[in-house]
């Protein structure tokens, strides 16, 4: 694998921050649009969002060196407003407490939750803005990097946003199945959501790869690594087939055979979406090719 200063911890961070904010958005959408029959899904999404984003942030911190050994240095992380990491720290510090508060409110956990429930709609609005910012920010973080031409495109945040929404929906669906396996039938209602978001993700991914082929030699070198180079088995098998095509086909079946699809296939499709989302971040980070400077 080609060398990159960032490794699996950053991959995990990008994935978890995306999936967590996507789960939050899924929860809010369910609660606002169909509070009667999608309640379990909303509950699951809200419960997963905070912990996922928190674990992701822990991964980011674990990737630090001096900032990990001497944690007080982390106070400096908000020093430079032209750095996307500074913005990320600000956005995450706002989103994480809101996500936990929302979970408490929606599930009426403790007196805090019961109190916060009065402000549920406020939490949903503020939280959705912060969730969308978190998901988009993970893409902007690497899109502004001039040291890696492959990442340096405005499509990057769009791609990460699309992936965040489909993985977030998958998280909420798996969570709903865990909370109450009987909801598996109503999950078929969300198959349509998967179809839409997976299609968006597939189209953006295709545009991203094709445009990279002509953008610059370095971006093309990275894209070649995914299409036919060292990373191609992971890209085609895990990201494309397992992560997009298979769940897409299963979602079609699920949609038409309303509530009839075997429960393990429903959950399997969602697990595939998660595997694909994580692997998408991995192949993008690991295919970084620096500019040819000499």
């Amino acid at each position: 694998m080609p060398e990159s200063a960032w490794g699996w911890l950053i991959v995990a961070y990008l994935f978890l921050a995306g999936a967590g904010s996507g789960a939050f958005l899924a929860a809010v959408a369910c609660d606002l649009l169909a509070p009667d029959w999608s309640r379990t899904l909303a509950r699951a999404g809200s419960l997963a969002a905070g912990p996922l984003v928190t674990i992701g942030t822990v991964c980011l911190v674990l990737d630090l060196e001096a900032g990990l050994w001497q944690p007080w240095r982390q106070i400096y992380l908000v020093s430079n407003l032209s750095s996307m990491i500074t913005w990320g720290v600000i956005i995450l510090s706002a989103f994480i407490p809101v996500a936990f508060l929302y979970a408490a409110a929606l599930n009426e956990i403790t007196f805090v939750g019961r109190f916060a429930k009065k402000y549920l709609l406020h939490l949903e609005i503020v939280g959705s803005v912060l969730a969308a910012s978190t998901a988009a920010y993970t893409g902007v973080l690497i899109a502004v990097v001039n040291g890696v031409p492959f990442w340096n495109t405005p499509l990057m945040p769009v791609l990460f946003m699309a992936s965040a929404i489909s993985t977030g929906l998958a998280v909420a669906m798996i969570g709903a199945a865990i909370l109450d396996i009987n909801t598996i039938k109503t999950l078929s209602n969300f198959a349509l959501g998967h179809l839409i978001f997976l299609s968006v993700e597939a189209v953006v991914l295709m545009m991203f790869i094709f445009m990279s082929l002509t953008r610059s030699v370095e971006a093309a070198a990275s894209a070649d690594m995914l299409i036919s180079g060292v990373l191609s088995p992971y890209f085609w098998v895990i990201v494309v087939v397992l992560g997009i095509v298979l769940p897409f086909l299963l979602s079609i079946v699920e949609y038409y055979k309303y509530g009839e699809l075997h429960k393990y296939l429903v959950i399997g499709a969602d697990l595939c979406v998660l595997l694909g989302g994580m692997s998408l971040r991995a192949v993008i980070i690991f295919s970084a090719t620096p500019p040819q400077v000499i």
């Binding site: 430079n80 750095s83 040291g147």
Partner: protein
């Protein structure tokens, strides 16, 4: 205040790596750590074939991408135009490594921070020149004030139309190369 830069004449470089070793010695680096690389570029076709050695180190960009992305503000430019790292602030997030197009920054795993060439600013402020400049047996590098049109470096850049690496990236490096 001078604005320091280096001019590099790759046609004189024999790839001996003296500059790299001198740098490691001056900066107290480990054998596998370096602020200085000798890249090799092959051109042409047999029998008219040439190999060029291109010494590479931090370009002290005037518009430094590393400085722009550093969240802690650990990277700053000194009055002499040298890009420096504030060792007490760096958290080791490695964002600057990703942002640097020249890939000349390295992690110092002892201190947990990211370091790079700093033009031996301590030697320079004491009236000397960077170790890579003085060590080179074929005098590939010229160190000096880019703002003084009469300095050796400015005259060299003007005479040979020396150019930075990848000026199109907009980083405005302070290292200039004469490559043919």
């Amino acid at each position: 205040m001078p604005r320091y830069g280096i001019a590099i004449d790759t046609t004189k470089c024999i790839g001996c790596h003296s500059c790299r070793v001198a740098c490691q010695n001056q900066q107290g680096l480990e054998y596998n750590q370096s602020f200085n690389w000798i890249k090799e570029k092959e051109r042409g076709k047999f029998p008219s074939f040439a190999k060029e050695f291109v010494p590479l180190q931090c370009n002290q960009c005037e518009n430094a991408p590393c400085q722009r992305v550093c969240p802690t503000g650990a990277i700053y430019t000194s009055p002499e135009g040298v890009v420096l790292v504030h060792k007490e602030r760096c958290v080791g997030c490695k964002y600057c490594i990703e942002a640097c197009p020249y890939k000349v920054r390295t992690v110092d795993h002892h201190e947990g921070i990211v370091v790079k060439c700093w033009f031996c600013i301590d030697l320079v402020r004491a009236g000397g020149e960077p170790a890579c400049v003085t060590t080179c047996p074929t005098q590939v590098r010229i160190f000096g004030d880019l703002d003084d049109p009469g300095s050796r470096i400015s005259r060299f850049i003007a005479t040979h139309r020396a150019e930075p690496l990848r000026p199109d990236l907009g980083t405005r490096p302070r290292i200039f190369y004469k490559r043919s």
